[in-house]
Amino acid sequence: MGDEDEIGGGPSGVSDEEDDPARRREIRSKYRDLINSVQQNREDMLNPANNKLIDVLEEANRLFASVKQAREAALDAQLLVLATDLGKEKASQLHAEGSAFDPSAFAEHLLSFMGLNRLEEDDDDQDGHLNGFLPQDAWQKLAKRSEVCFKTAPSFHYMLGSFLAEPPPPRQRVERQRKAPSKEAKRIMPTQLKKMEESQQEATEKEVERILACLQKYFADDPEEPISYYEFVIDPSSFSRTVENIFHTSFLIRDGLAKISLDKEGLPCIGPVEEGEIETGGAADRNQCVISISQASWKEIIEAFDIKEALIPAPKTLSQES
């Protein structure tokens, strides 16, 4: 290849001037720049508001005047393929009946819908920097509204049933007894089992009563101040205790001994029901709902409400075996 370039008026019939390797390198470099600029700024070129694509073609035309050999012509062809592709897309924008669809405008409208908090008055992204920030629930808000367009089948999940409020220490005692001499051991075992059954049923009731007593005591101290439901049930030192508290408190609600309402800020509060306030079996509005809590939410609530200690003290009777 190099040899052909040196020979003036050689086999290709081209003169020295046009064979200058430095000149050809320059042409190739300019073509590559053009190709890159088209690829990088594709969307800009597609914008119907400007004629940048025509500028590129005119520049290519100028360059082509100096092209005499296949290598440069190949680059020109490559540029032409890109430009035609863009041209086709620009043309399809014109053919569309009705309004054109502008994804950038769409994005702006979405941002407004999602509640973008703009930091300054003037518009953003002059130099590509995005202005403002989206609130935490932005995507959830959008999801809620766009759900309507979907006919998604709700996902099937098991509703996890209730769990034993207490660990089972009696069983361990029974096992140790078995190792002792047989006659005595046999006599002792049945009574242990009986005790376990009773404590299962009564323990829950006892807990519920204890919690009611707590609630009434707090309310008696300050009848005007509603007690925040979260502060009441959350035990910041134990997630499992928190879940138990929610479980037991739900019995109070079910039996009409306590009620949950929303305060001015829309946060749930709990309070005991005064005698005669609700007619049992009456047409009072009773609502059902399912409450769930995860370890993550539990931690978030502790932080948000700055809960330092549990309003419901842990039960003293049972020592939790570690």
Binding site: S99, D125, Q140, K151
Partner: protein
């Protein structure tokens, strides 16, 4: 019904090399063979099998990955595969009448099913907080639809970037956005991510997936897009025409 028989007949002709024996058995049985096979099972047994299939599909639907007929046959039906059609008809009825769901075959060639809601969104009140992924999916599907059914991937990534979702960075809500969009949504059949031929470097484009075609109402989508633009949905004539036609088909 006759269409499916034709499809299975041509399947057995062209796919002799099909490794899945179950598929071949199903397509080669005549109706009298099926009737005789049915005698082998009591109605109590069939009831139980129907319930098992329903439960299988419900659990599979949790991740929204479509269920294949081969899976149902292999894991649940087993020896009951000879009465596959009858069991599936009852499964379909159970979904409609008990759960208010529709079992749709989105791919009649490969026999792939999904569950969708039979009830319109307005008829029920959904108390659960919205899933952010739905919002993201909506944005992508809208771009594709408004662009006439195909959108180059760069257009989608650039628009998402304006919404502070960068496919190259970890996102607070969505983590690996690229994976979510090009892998999860594609496996769930909400999107198709196809290579554009003869592109160098390789470029991809997005289309609606088979699930999206069935699960979404194009008209409702257009209405929301119009709402956002504070415009009449009919101002996008082509899209409105497409959306109305699609609505009347469902």
């Amino acid at each position: 019904m006759s269409q499916r028989k034709k499809a299975s007949a041509s399947q057995s002709k062209s796919q002799r090399t099909n490794e899945n024996e179950d598929e071949m058995t199903l397509s080669q049985m005549t109706s009298s063979q099926v009737l005789r096979a049915r005698e082998n099972f009591t109605s109590v047994q069939i009831d139980r099998k129907v319930a098992e299939v329903v439960q299988f599909i419900l659990v599979k639907d949790q991740k929204k990955i479509p269920v294949r007929r081969a899976e149902i046959v292999k894991h649940v039906m087993k020896e009951y595969k000879v009465i596959y059609s009858e069991v599936m008809n009852r499964v379909r009825r159970t979904f409609e009448q008990v759960f208010g769901l529709k079992l749709e075959e989105i791919d009649t060639k490969n026999h792939i099913y999904i569950l969708i809601n039979k009830l319109e969104a307005g008829e029920t009140v959904n108390m659960c907080p919205g899933n952010p992924k739905t919002g993201l999916l909506f944005v992508i599907l809208s771009i594709i639809f408004m662009k006439g059914g195909v959108a180059k991937e760069n257009l989608v990534w650039n628009t998402l970037k304006k919404l502070r979702v960068d496919s190259g960075e970890k996102h607070d809500e969505f983590s690996d956005v690229k994976k979510l969009v090009t892998d999860e949504f594609v496996r769930q059949k909400y999107l198709e991510y196809v290579k554009i031929p003869h592109t160098e470097p390789v470029e991809f484009e997005f289309r609606w997936g088979l699930r999206a075609d069935i699960e979404l109402s194009k008209l409702k989508l257009l209405e929301f897009v119009a709402e956002l633009h504070d415009q009449d949905p009919q101002s996008w004539t082509q899209q409105f025409r497409e959306a109305s036609a699609s609505e009347s088909r469902t």
